[in-house]
Symmetry: C2
Subunit: 524 residues, 2 copies
């Protein structure tokens, strides 16, 4: 390229960090995955609703997405009338606004599902984007834990419909009231509680002795950075650590018992008995345990025990949860970026948030719901090779080449061929194939490369001799590639020569669609 | 409500102007409409691609969406590194960025489709939103008008697949080079041309005498506001008006000839001959006419003549078009907001934009494409009662009532019933119904109202007497409503009583699903 200084500077084509493009295989597979989730949620009586991407900041603002990361922000801008607008950062805050605004018109309890992108104005990193998709289901206006149980069952059914086998996932349930009860029973001051919850949340990453430091004076990490602790007394820390040990024991047992309903039933019952001891005297905690008992009975009656288990180690980061919290964990092993084999981990979570709609209304409005991280679930489906995300699940492509594309008078003939192919239907009247006419200016070899690059099953060719004869050549690109890869001995055989005749043959123009159908039938 | 001043002020639940929520019927119907469009575009060999909602402002900025409305803006905000980001305002500018960034990796010509919301920071009004959906298809890297012809055929096929009958739509094609040629032949100065194009664009709204004022000194509207004109001489204006008269004559003929291919063929040929006279001496204009000739030959060969017509009155607002421009117009009558019967009008449009990708690259990259206004097309499908947007096209809903919802011990029984119903499949293994368990705290009458409000086909009821008998009552809400509406005479008849027994009957709990299937079969 010449460095001609008189030419205007070209813009650089680039994307802001944390935003990505998605190609055809991902878009099509995600679309299939979303339809399965839609159907699953719909069978549970949830109706779709869609809210816009932009809301008043004050309607979103009160609850930051995660108190664990107070610096993460939302994308905001001022309207003409100087009011602040923001891009939604989740699908829950807009739902609360929607329900409050349409309260009288909605059937209650109101079951809805929503899918779409949300935005976080935070530092992007590996697997951490500033635009990502969530798929949520919520029940608003129902205070019974039967609602929480329904959401957990919906989560379990949805995993199986997506091709994740029973035993490869588990839905874990806990209750914020139990956590509060443990902290009440330990006499922990309100000001220290958020720090305690954060420390509990670290128990799946750190050894318990490190968590003890976070509960006490504080902890210095390997780089020397110091994190101030919650300042608990030794007796207070002991109680929290007993709670965490119980949680870890149960999680360990859960791994081996997830497929064994009897075992899980014993496990859940034992967990609840052990918990009772830790919340003695705390009314809130006892109420939380009673709710977990009810959930256990509901999932037992509906046949979901073992797929849904009680796990006291579940905290969930969001501050607005007020009762049951739940998380969908995939238990099959994957290799992480550091080469370690780990469980795949969480792909969805949620809980009861009885205060969120109440911000807008005089009366309290109980609600519960969960959110699927769509990209993460998509990776999981790829990891288990679910047929839903198989990119081959598409119509075959036929490329009509334009041998004489320097002469515009031949294009109408090629155009008629591709138009005819696009009308081809299967027995049920559905399209049989995708058909593409080469519209570039390159020669025949480049056109065949184009057909290969696009993954075409066959190519259609008409040069001047075919045109004079009223015929067209159909080239089977899959069979052709097989034959080209054959050894020299095989290539001399009569069988090979017969196959070559199958791989490329001429038909009268009027029989083009029939000829193509023969080729497609070979590879279906 | 008490006006307790100590209570914190409640937030008002409201939406920013120009943004709207969409309920279940609209979301589901739009989803069906989008799948039909996806399939239609896919059959033409277009691959999906998705770009993010946020781009660098400079990557979007050079081409404002519409030079006709220079004040309309984009939503923008600064990133942490002070670079400006914007919400995309269309799907074409992001495509240009995507193609430029991935140029070597893409097969060329590159056919892609994209669907999604775009954002305009402009004054909202009736039917004018700040967030709306577009569905685009583009061919990048092909300079031949065969690409423009393909897009027009794709547009026509898509309309028919969506349920818009042949004759109820027409794809109109013109060429910017012809417009330029007419202005060249008239000797119109470059500075006046944008004003001239805007005046031409008004020809479908104003009588030609008013357009003449816009071409000349200027025009005062009814309110007294003055719009400055293009300042053409009388001879120059005469030539533009002859051009417009030709356009209007053809459009008028087009209305009666759209279903008559022979008539349309004559019409198109006549239009091209008449145009030649108006661009005499202007090389550009002659080239544009030659391109329209080629398009006419291509659509004739592929069998689309009559559905696609040449119409010199098409301008298209966007400044970046460089060749053929096209518009999909729905020709059936609708009543507008003022009570007048008018044609439905444009639902999609596009054209060739050979400069857009070239902004990023050293070499020129020709491209052509079109954009469907999804909301407007959705209204059109409702107007023609297309089955694709019929909201009844959904699975029937069964509501399990919770008669003893004050006592949590009965909930597991109801939960088991709804879980069983959700497993019901049809012969092909697809879900047979949607099932909902009432999770509110209200009594039985409110629960039956809830079932009605949700449009349930039947309700499931189990009180204490049924529980003791091991049965459950199935209530057919559709048949029940019919019987309730019957006259008193009919109600005394034996036939009516027999039907009442069908409308509400008890079955053993184990036969619940079979009983519900009987009710659904009545109404399928």
């Amino acid at each position: 390229m010449s460095a001609d200084k008189s030419a205007p500077a070209k813009l650089k084509a680039r994307q802001p960090r944390g935003f990505v493009d998605r190609g055809p295989a991902d878009v099509a597979a995600t679309e299939r995955m979303l339809s399965v989730i839609r159907e699953s949620f719909s069978v549970y009586g949830f109706d779709p609703v869609e809210t816009p991407f932009v809301e008043y900041t004050d309607a979103l603002g009160k609850f930051l997405p995660d108190q664990d990361r107070p610096n993460e922000g939302v994308f905001s801008f001022q309207d003409d009338d100087e009011q602040w607008l923001s891009l939604r950062y989740d699908l829950t805050a807009p739902l609360a606004r929607y329900v409050a605004e349409n309260f009288d018109a909605l059937p209650k309890p109101y079951r809805s599902y929503r899918v779409g992108y949300v935005f976080r104005n935070e530092k992007p990193g590996p697997g951490r984007f500033r635009q990502f998709m969530q798929f949520d289901a919520d029940i608003v206006g129902s205070g019974t834990v039967a609602g929480d149980a329904e959401i957990c069952m919906l989560a379990a059914d949805t995993m199986e419909k997506l091709g994740i086998r029973r035993g490869d996932y588990v839905v874990k349930v806990n209750n914020r009231k139990v956590l509060d009860g443990v902290m009440d029973a330990a006499g922990i001051a309100p000001a220290a509680r958020l720090t305690v919850l954060r420390a509990i949340d670290k128990a799946d990453k750190f050894p318990l002795e490190e968590v003890r430091k976070l509960l006490g004076e504080g902890r210095k990490d390997e780089s020397g950075d110091f994190t101030k602790g919650a300042g608990l007394s030794d007796a207070q820390s002991d109680r929290i650590l007993r709670y965490l040990e119980l949680g870890q024991k149960l999680a360990e047992l859960g791994k081996t018992n997830a497929q064994d309903s009897e075992g899980s039933a014993r496990l859940s019952a034992a967990a609840l008995t052990d918990l009772s001891g830790l919340v003695e005297g705390a009314e809130n905690g006892q109420a939380g345990i009673a709710e977990l008992e009810q959930i256990r009975e509901l999932i037992t009656a509906a046949g979901y025990l073992g797929r849904i288990i009680i796990d006291p180690s579940i905290v969930r980061g969001l501050e607005y949860y007020t009762g049951p919290v739940y998380e969908v964990e995939l238990t099959f092993p994957v290799t992480n970026d550091d080469g370690q084999v780990v469980r795949f981990g969480s792909v969805a979570g949620g809980g009861r948030y009885d205060g969120l709609v109440g911000r807008f209304r005089a009366e309290p409005v109980p609600a519960t719901g969960f959110s699927i991280g769509v990209s993460r679930l998509f990776s999981a489906l790829k990891a288990v090779k679910s047929p839903i995300v198989d990119s081959r699940n598409e119509l075959p492509l036929v490329v009509v080449t334009a041998m004489d594309n320097k002469s515009p008078e031949f294009m109408p003939g090629y155009q008629a061929m591709v138009a005819g192919l696009r009308q081809a239907k299967d027995a049920e009247g559905k399209p049989l194939l995708r058909a593409d006419l080469y519209l570039g200016a390159s020669g025949f070899n480049a056109q065949m490369k184009y057909a290969d690059r696009r993954g075409a099953t066959c190519a259609i060719i008409q040069g001047s001799s075919e045109r004079e004869a009223g015929t067209v050549v159909i080239k089977d690109l899959i069979l052709g590639a097989e034959l080209a890869a054959a050894s020299r001995d095989v290539k001399d055989s009569a069988e090979h020569k017969a196959k070559q005749a199958e791989a490329q043959f001429a038909v009268p123009v009027a029989e083009l669609v029939e000829g193509v159908k023969r080729v497609l039938a070979r590879h279906s």
